[in-house]
């Protein structure tokens, strides 16, 4: 059974049909790439999955459980986490605080514990801090816990966005253009990071325009154009698919 089953998802914005009956499966343990021209509906699809938009029709099932139309915090609770296209962080909070907010979901802390600073709260907070240190070491940023998020360079902010998404301990991670506007060094680091995330057991779906990232990382690729899925398959199948080449990849020049 696929980890994530998307069936006939349709999303309208007034008169504009952004997604038209999209079907997609995501299998446990794979890295699935989602590509397509700008405005195709890729981010809209992510927004529907993560609960920011409610679809007009269709259904989404995660690990057998229906999650269509649930609020974002419920989706996060069920094990799906995501990053955003524009770097979305808590700008005026420190790196540590950014991570602490994300860690809240799995902390098991109740409001009462938080307010009164009960022994349980103090113990949990200490555990969370050490987990945060571990995660930051995993991404190589542990030395900067007290720096404000907005003071990091763009490249590092993307990595932080990834780290923050990981604090919710997702089983499925949706990455929206993780390689966007990164210089080659940072790009390589992010690529390796995604590989390591995948190796730790997390299923990854990523939207990308950078074809080297897509063909370098993904087991399977889905192509979306004008709200419709026009192809799905292995990287080789996608490369050879005429519709995809016409819609997006561009004609191959002489080999």
């Amino acid at each position: 059974m696929p980890l994530l089953e998307i069936r006939k998802i349709t999303k309208d914005f007034g008169g504009l049909r952004a997604l038209d009956g999209v079907d997609l499966d995501v299998h446990q343990g794979e890295i699935l790439g989602v590509i397509g021209p700008n405005g195709a509906g890729k981010t809209t699809l992510f927004n529907v999955i993560s609960g920011i938009y409610k679809p007009q029709s269709g259904s989404i099932t995660f690990d057998g459980e229906p999650i269509t139309g649930l609020k974002p915090h419920k989706i996060a609770e069920s094990g799906i986490s995501r990053t955003f296209q524009a770097t979305t962080l808590f700008d005026n909070m420190t790196l540590k605080e950014n991570m602490l907010v994300g860690s809240n979901l799995r902390s098991g802390l109740r409001l009462w514990d938080m307010f009164l600073n009960t022994p349980k709260a103090r113990k949990t907070e200490a555990e969370l801090r050490s987990q945060i240190t571990d995660t930051l070491r995993f991404v190589g940023m542990n030395d900067f816990q007290d720096k404000n998020a907005c003071d990091f360079s763009y490249g590092y902010q993307r990595t932080i966005g990834l780290a923050v998404a990981l604090t919710t301990k997702p089983r499925l991670l949706l990455l929206d253009e993780p390689a966007c506007a990164l210089n080659p060094d940072r790009l390589l680091e992010v690529l390796n990071l995604i590989r390591r995330i995948h190796e730790s057991g997390i299923t990854v779906v990523l939207i990308e325009h950078n074809m080297r990232v897509i063909f370098g990382l993904c087991h399977r690729i889905a192509v979306i154009s004008y709200g419709v899925k026009i192809a799905e398959g292995t990287p080789q199948e996608i490369r050879d698919n005429e519709d995809v080449v016409q819609a997006y990849l561009g004609k191959r020049s002489a080999p």
Partner: protein, 327 residues
Amino acid sequence: MNRGMLAKLIGLLVLTVVFCVPVFTTDLYYVHTLIMVMYYIILALSLRVIMRIGDVSFAHAAFAAIGAYGSALFVMKVNMPFWAAFPLAGVLAVLMAIIIGFPSLRLRGAYFFLVTFAFGQIIVIVLGGYWENVFGGFTGLVGIPAPEAIGPWQFIGKTPYYYFILALTLITILVMWRIDRSRIGLILKSIAERDVLAHSLGINIMRYRMLAFVVGCFFAGIAGSFYAHYVHMVSPEGFSFMHSIQIVAFCVVGGTASVAGPIIGVGSLTALSEIVRAQGPYEFIVYGISLVVVFMFLPEGLLGLPKRMSGVVEKLSSLKRPTRLSV
């Protein structure tokens, strides 16, 4: 001695002075002013926790009205002892906050302002214009009795009220400070900073918005209850939109970054309005002008002043040195 210890020492000193005022002053005007200052501090601090989620409520004076009228009516019409009516007034404010909160807290920015403004006006209009046999119309309720004595302490004169409001203020400061320091404060800050991200990280933003709103309105309610049984009368014009703006001004002028902000805001604006009042009835102009000045020059409020000052000092000192080309 580090900054933390110094702050605590200053705090303790201020506390001791404040505690002893009624003992040393026979001038009731000063005692009354301090009582009102503390009343406003509670209102400002309770508004601040609502502002922590990123939006400003312009209905805060109305929630004080709910507490004031509620408490007065519980005591006068239902013969409840004050000490039961007092917390119940807070509960009443909480119920109204939940009713008003559900539709409004989904909204942000200007829309939240409009809805809270509308609710605030509705409450005041209802209190002034409907069920006059209950609410007393525009003249409101008079002859609201004092709280019953606690043991040997009777509520005659100003001193017992002074210590009562002092205790309330300290409790409010403690609660707000504790919220700030805890994970709750962190989550509220994150919702104000970027609510979509917080939502996607598993935070139930509606629940936390409601929590902040309810806590803020509770303290406004009990402050209102105190007010009613201190001045012994309440009328709708004592809780008008102008008063809501006044409370907003306390928070904005003082700054909302920490619990100290509203306290500084109340202190400075009250002092300023006292000076202006000597010249004439220009009190509310003070609040209006200070709001505008702060928006333009000091958006973090007076709390941001040290940062600004050090920035200005840096600029001035760099003017003296000739600019060096960086190599």
